[in-house]
């Protein structure tokens, strides 16, 4: 009888893990609570598309072009024109108080300069303390201005707007040029949430056995290493799928993220990703001496996962060394898989290379876990 796994013993391990999981209220709450909180924080509060941002106009020129632009802003979702005729000092004051997000300065003789082809500049002051809100608004503003010009500038001035915009928009603010939307962020969160909970909770689960002394009992029984490892991992696969379910439902119902591709494909690819992370967690738990160390190691893994994977910053925009680290991490590939399947309807062929890279990591992490697992207390 040399089978590495015996079903009775494996079931004993799995059953025990489930009971312990159920009794450990805090961990249990964490497994459901962390995904919900992150979803709401990232998906809703932080990166919701800004709407109806308060805007003021310092109008040095009240010609038809300016009026058309203000009207355009008024009807757009992005802006709410609070006051279309501010003085420069009022505008500065209100911006400072946070009552206005934007102030649009229209220079005197703006329309005339446009018609003469002088490319005058519109100045926009933006409250950059909320960069993501600002960036979306600004791109909308340029577009609204362009449309207004197209409408108003007919007749002799018409050729002007065929080549380039007849005026430029100068922005006085610092902001993040990346415009994240819920479409991008919610699928990405699936990778982040799974990484965080899987690595941390498995690392803790194994270290706990050592810390509480139960490992000594476990090792004195005929349980095999693989039975212990698989017994630890199986319950967390179930947890992972519950989390994936929660995220998908929230993505659909709350954030209205489309789902273009195949659900089974996503669930299959997720299994590879989840196992890769569980392997990392188990490996950490064989190194960590106590639970605190296990948590620290989990965070050590979590930080690059969130920063260098393309979740926070666009992957291609990162320096080479960061991309090199990022492409080792399974989450980087998983993000591409999830976004590909959910948003672009990617099929098996398109996601296969990314899944292969995750599988490679999985083999590595599980090998490390099995190799590091000790049969004795030494």
């Amino acid at each position: 009888m040399r089978a590495p796994i015996h079903i009775t013993r494996l079931l004993a391990m799995v059953g025990k893990e489930f009971v312990q999981m159920r009794r450990d209220r805090l961990t249990f709450a964490m497994m459901a609570g962390i995904p919900m909180m992150q979803l709401l924080l990232f998906g809703f509060a932080i990166n919701q598309d800004p709407k109806h941002l308060p805007m003021g106009v310092v109008n040095g020129d009240s010609g038809p072009l300016t009026r058309a632009m203000v009207a355009g802003m008024q009807v757009s979702d992005y802006f709410r024109v609070v006051d279309a005729d501010l003085s420069a000092s009022e505008a500065t004051e209100q911006l400072a108080r946070g009552e206005l997000q934007f102030v649009l300065h229209v220079p005197p003789d703006f329309e005339r300069d446009v018609r003469r082809g002088r490319h005058p500049a519109l100045l926009v002051e933006a409250d950059a303390s909320d960069p993501s809100a600002t960036s979306r608004g600004l791109s909308a503003l340029s577009e609204i201005g362009r449309r207004a010009a197209r409408e108003v500038l007919k007749g002799p001035a018409a050729p002007l707007q065929q080549t380039a915009p007849p005026f430029s928009v100068t922005v006085h603010a610092l902001y993040n040029p990346e415009a994240h939307t819920a479409y991008n962020i919610v699928p990405g969160l699936m990778g982040v949430i799974l990484t965080m909970t899987m690595v941390m909770i498995t690392a803790l689960a194994m270290t706990r056995e050592r810390e509480r002394g139960t490992l000594e009992m476990l090792l004195s029984t005929p349980v095999r290493p693989l039975e212990v490892l698989v017994g630890k991992i199986v319950p967390y696969i179930v947890v992972a799928y519950i989390q994936i379910g929660l995220i998908l439902v929230a993505a659909r119902l709350i954030f209205k993220v489309p789902f273009e591709g195949s659900l089974p494909l996503l669930l299959g690819a997720a299994l590879v990703f989840v196992l890769a992370n569980l392997g990392v967690g188990v490996t950490f738990s064989t190194i960590a001496r106590n639970q605190l160390q296990a948590v620290q190691m989990a965070f050590f893994f979590f930080l690059p996962s969130i920063l260098l994977s393309g979740f926070m910053f666009p992957f291609r925009g990162m320096p080479d060394w960061a991309q090199a680290i990022g492409s080792v991490l399974p989450i980087t590939h998983f993000l591409r898989v999830v976004r590909g399947i959910m948003l672009k309807g990617a099929g098996w062929l398109e996601v296969a290379p990314e899944v292969a890279k995750m599988a490679l990591f999985l083999v590595g992490s599980l090998t490390a876990a099995v190799a590091r697992y000790r049969r004795t207390l030494d």
Binding site: H6, T8, R9, L11, A12, M13, G15, K16, V19, Q20, R23, D24, R212, G213, T214, L215, E216, M217, L219, S220, T221, P222, V223, R375, T376, L377, D378
Partner: protein, 323 residues
């Protein structure tokens, strides 16, 4: 399966080093089948480490041997199946109930008819009334009882018990020892560590470990004889500094409180006798021949061996000098 004579455990030259600290040093043990073998020694003398090596939880640095006829180096899995090991520290799951813990152990050992076995064990160890209680919420003595139940559940042929009665009340302790002897009579071998002398006296065999070295082994009476100690009971009305005075006398190797009086022991019977006679002559002190107890022997042994673990640097100097 090769049975090694009638020894349940037979190890030779068992040694364990942690870093440069030799925790178990060249220990050779023979535990006969069906014996109740007491393993004694001061704190930190390496008893737990020895047990762990015997049941395959620690890899010996050197030495070999057999346990139930299986090689302790290469047949750990077979050993684990036949041995019940009760750890010194409670090592069952505190967040599982009594019944869940036992059921887990039964399934891990792949016991047939686990349900029936569980019920039987609960009743035998008086745990039925507490079966739904979380193990972590049991009192210390009940935890010990649960641990014992868990390590006997799979009907092992050898029990390794590491201080099984620490913190257990006197009645439970007596019941426990009756149980142990009952099991031994049925052919089970028990290796048990303890710090209690009354328990040591109930063992059929004893071994005494001090600072990693096995000093003596044998049955309790032969240990007393081997020690070569002669003992006198000394009582006095004014006994405040008596012990100190006696200890300074020639021929006195050990002075230990015993009941209301003192046990004075020495290896050189003649010198001891002479010294005590002189003291008795001064009056107010009564000297009568006494019986050397196991406790006297062990306290004497403890005094004979320097604590070479207490100061790691001195230990390594010693070792350096020896090699």
């Amino acid at each position: 399966m090769k049975e090694d004579g009638d020894a349940a455990i037979e190890v030779r030259g068992l040694t364990k080093r942690f870093g440069d600290k030799t925790v178990v040093d060249d220990v050779s043990l023979r535990v006969p089948r069906g014996s109740v073998f007491g393993f004694l020694g001061p704190n930190g003398s390496g008893k737990t480490t020895c047990l762990r090596m015997i049941c395959g939880l620690l890899e010996p640095t050197a030495g070999d041997g057999t346990c139930l006829g299986f090689d302790i180096l290469s047949q750990r899995r077979e050993i684990k199946r036949e041995v019940g090991y009760m750890t010194q520290k409670f090592s069952l799951y505190e967040d599982l109930t009594v019944a869940e813990n036992l059921a887990f152990v039964a399934r891990v050992y792949e016991m047939p008819d686990a349900r029936h076995l569980l019920q039987q064990t609960l009743e035998r160890f008086d745990l039925a009334g507490r079966q739904r209680q979380l193990a972590g919420s049991l009192s210390g003595g009940w935890k010990q009882r649960l641990s014992l139940a868990a390590c006997m559940l799979h009907q092992p042929r050898l029990l390794l018990l590491d201080e099984p009665t620490a913190g257990v009340d006197p009645k439970a302790r007596r019941d426990f020892w009756e149980e142990i002897h009952q099991l031994a009579a049925e052919g089970l071998t028990v290796l048990v560590t303890t710090h209690y002398m009354d328990e040591a006296e109930r063992c059929t065999h004893l071994a005494y470990l001090a600072y990693g070295k096995l000093l003596v082994q044998g049955d309790p009476t032969s240990l007393v004889q081997q020690s070569g100690l002669t003992t006198f009971n000394v009582t006095a009305r004014e006994s405040a500094d008596l012990a100190v005075r006696l200890r300074a006398l020639p021929g006195v190797d050990l002075v230990a409180a015993f009941g209301k009086g003192l046990h004075v022991c020495g290896r050189d019977a003649v010198a001891l006798r002479a010294a005590l006679d002189a003291v008795a002559h001064e009056g107010e002190v009564e000297v009568r021949p006494g019986r050397t107890s196991l406790e006297d022997v062990f306290i004497y042994l403890m005094g004979q061996t320097p604590d070479n673990f207490a100061n790691p640097s001195s230990a390594s100097i010693e070792k350096g000098g020896a090699s």
